[in-house]
Symmetry: C2
Subunit: 144 residues, 2 copies
């Protein structure tokens, strides 16, 4: 590896913050106009965690139950989620992705990955490896 001037953790932190925000902003351009940002976030949650109750969804998305109720209604109307009664607890409902909902999220991921992959392919092999390694480390940081 060529000898770079050393960066302090403070400099690295600022650099990582800035580059992360810019990348997110860039990836956001590859999105769907079918649903709002909040609605899309619910679909992603459901794909990641499977079917959830209304209260669980509201907590995960940091919104109130009435707000989530409305969001779920919109998604049901759009055919992107299914709402079924909980078999074990009559008070609860079970919100699950429909096939169309899963397809919408998967397609969006694919579009973003395709753009990102094309950019990565333009980098040198050792640069690609550096990014792969950093991505794993960043995930470890964010998930703690």
């Amino acid at each position: 590896m060529p000898s770079h001037p050393e960066s302090t953790p403070a400099e690295t932190a600022a650099q990582l913050r800035i580059s992360t925000y810019r990348l997110v902003r860039r990836l956001r351009l590859q999105r769907t106009d079918d649903v709002s940002v909040g609605q899309y976030s619910v679909l992603v949650s459901l794909r990641a965690h499977g079917a959830l109750s209304l209260g669980d969804l509201a907590e995960r998305e940091h919104v109130t139950a009435p707000s989530m109720n409305r969001t779920v209604n919109c998604l049901v109307d759009a055919g992107l989620v299914q709402r079924t009664p909980d078999p074990d607890d009559g008070r609860r409902i079970r919100v699950a992705l429909s096939e169309a909902g899963e397809r919408l999220v998967d397609d969006t991921d694919r579009r973003r990955d395709a753009w990102l992959e094309a950019r990565l392919a333009e980098l040198a092999p050792d640069e690609q490896r550096a990014i792969a390694r950093a991505a794993a480390l960043i995930r470890g940081i964010a998930d703690r």
Copy 2:
């Protein structure tokens, strides 16, 4: 460098996308409640580009002029920006960060960097270098 199993650009792209979104979600926790997300974004734009007209701000933030007008009014009332007539063109206005506005953005950055810096400091030196290098590469990708 130890021999890792090679990742394809597609795998690296997906990994980078996921870790980036998680980091943003995590950093968002360190925010201010003084202004809304849209208002904060305007402050960041003004710090980056200097004083801007209402129309320029609306275009950069991808909102309409009436919406930006309202946002700017809120920020003026909060003492975070100043609104002055354009000396060269009587139709235009000039929106600029106030000292308080600059302080708010700088403080938020510092809070986020402090959190991130603490996490980075827990990594091994070569891991920190990997992230610093990747951050520079990511910025190059996002800015093109």
